[in-house]
């Protein structure tokens, strides 16, 4: 009698366990099948960037000595500076500190970021303020008096 009872008990127990796992697993499956699409939805899809090889800046004669300008390089800003000695150089215009766009500061002869007073020399090296890294350099090609900027290989 008692043996039979304990047998039915253990059957009931495994039955209950079975239901518990089915039920618990079902809830977990439900939650994850709701959350997964939501989290995937929140992640913005990767958009293909247009591959830009090089960008024409303009005629060399039109770029003044001791000046700087921002040009579009694909969807990134690039700063093109011409030193007082006439060299043309190009760097990524995105400050390595917190992503602001830098500018050429004529009075100081540096590349300057207005957001947190970061300064780079005209070789793109971070010389003062919070920037942790130098600006990425771009290649400047001068062909038939035309200035082009391209990615450094």
């Amino acid at each position: 009698m008692s043996k039979k009872q304990s047998q039915t008990n253990s059957i009931a127990k495994t039955k209950r366990d079975f239901l518990k796992y089915i039920f618990g697993g079902g809830i977990i499956a439900l939650i994850s099948s709701v959350l997964y699409p939501i989290f995937s939805y929140l992640k913005p899809p990767k958009q293909r960037e247009v591959e830009v090889k090089n960008v024409k800046v303009g005629k060399l004669s039109e770029i003044e000595n001791d000046s700087g300008q921002i040009i579009r390089f694909g969807n990134k800003p690039v700063i093109v500076v011409r030193t007082s000695s006439g060299d043309v150089r190009a760097f990524a215009a995105t400050c390595t500190h917190l992503d602001c766009t830098v500018q050429f500061k004529k009075e100081l002869g540096v590349i300057w970021c207005a957001c947190h007073n970061g300064k780079y020399d005209l070789n793109g090296r971070n010389i003062s303020g919070p920037p942790p890294k130098p600006l990425d350099e771009f290649r400047v090609i001068i062909k038939n008096e035309e200035v082009f900027v391209s990615k450094k290989i």
Binding site: P44, H97, D99, C115, P130, P132
Partner: protein, 359 residues
């Protein structure tokens, strides 16, 4: 006429038992003492929040989110829509006064140690609302899509990217991509008008429910004053009427500010322009912004900015947890350390805000 109102009242009363609510309100008393004035700033914050909801809904009727639409639609609101300038200026000014009122409310609660047992949850919900208010300010700042907002958002979201391990994912989630673009604007708009108000309202309800349930906090050592000397005033109508009078004053201050100092719109954001000289975040982020300027690029082995942001995160966490480490106040003992920390925080915020303003 009076009879009709009475009939309507008893009709509702029969169904939802209003009698008890009225009884509860009638029994609620507000302690009167030399620090009673600080009780009003929670109410002022609430009022400013209500104004934000109303003016925000009004702005929604004309605002268009989008890279090519946002700036132009605010221009339209400011110049073409009747009283558009007023609604938008009030929304901007009230946002700033709201943060200010929250600061005053928070510091008064802090120095009164009203967070002590049993009001820990009230303090926590209040702090959460302050953080959400910052998120409101930050997301709303971008919506006009002007130059200042564009770079403020770049810097702010880049700071989120500094968080170890998950920083990049957070940044991409906030920006809706690698860079701050129209996708960011759409997201911030969603946060600002749907997600944040929803969460805020829920927490606000808990906060207010707790204040009603537990009653007003009394100053430290108040239980030592003789019962005969303890003065109170009824919450309804005495305190409510004083509250309403103050709300009226705040409304007037808002109107004066909005009329005489209408909010500027600035120049439209351009992803290919340099950050303008003199760029600054809103004043309530200024002390943190200014600190970041002084931190060198490297401290020990970590990036200066990472270090600075971690410091602020830790300080904010410690501040928020004050009911749990300040055990003395809960026991009714004086805790000088809490006061010194509070004074340091106020001085730090004021000094760095002024420096940020001047430099």
């Amino acid at each position: 006429m009076k009879k009709y109102f009475k009939n309507i009242y008893s009709w509702i009363d029969e169904r939802v038992e209003l009698e008890e609510v009225v009884k509860f309100m009638g029994k609620k008393y507000v302690p009167v003492h030399s620090h009673t004035i600080w009780y009003y700033f929670g109410g002022v914050s609430l009022f400013l929040f209500i104004i934000q909801v109303f003016t925000g809904i009004l702005l929604l009727l004309y605002y268009k989110a989008g890279e090519e639409l946002a700036f132009e639609s605010i221009q339209f609101i400011m110049s073409k829509v009747q009283f558009g300038w007023l609604i938008r200026s009030i929304h901007s000014w009230a946002a700033n006064l709201f943060i200010l009122a929250l600061f005053i409310h928070m510091f008064s609660v802090y120095f009164e140690k009203s967070y002590r047992k049993p009001r820990e949850i009230t303090w926590l919900t209040g702090m959460l609302m302050l953080f959400i208010a910052f998120a409101f300010g930050f997301s709303g700042y971008l919506l006009p899509w002007n130059e200042l907002a564009f770079f403020a958002t770049k810097v702010g979201t880049d700071i989120a990217g500094v968080v170890p391990f998950i920083g990049d994912s957070i940044m991409i989630f906030l920006r809706g991509g690698e860079d701050v673009t129209g996708a960011t604007l759409t997201r911030f708009f969603g946060f600002h008008v749907a997600i944040l108000p929803g969460i805020f309202t829920l927490i606000l309800a808990i906060h207010l429910l707790l204040v009603q349930r537990q009653g007003m906090s009394e100053p430290m050592g108040y239980e030592n004053t003789k019962i005969a000397e303890r003065k109170t005033m009824p919450f309804f109508p005495n305190f409510i009427l004083r509250d309403l009078l103050l709300w009226l004053i705040v409304l007037n201050v808002l109107a004066i500010l909005a009329v005489f100092f209408p909010w500027e719109l600035g120049r439209k954001a351009d992803a290919f322009a340099s950050a303008p000289a003199g760029i600054q975040p809103e004043w309530y982020f200024l002390f943190m912004f200014q600190t970041l300027k002084y931190i060198p690029p490297q401290i020990l082995f970590i990036d200066g900015e990472v270090f600075g942001i971690m410091m602020f995160a830790v300080a904010g966490g410690v501040w928020m947890m004050v009911p749990f480490w300040d055990r003395k106040s809960s026991r009714g003992e004086a805790n000088r350390l809490v006061n010194y920390i509070g004074l340091f925080a106020i001085l730090y915020i004021i000094v760095f805000t002024i420096i940020g303003w001047l430099v």
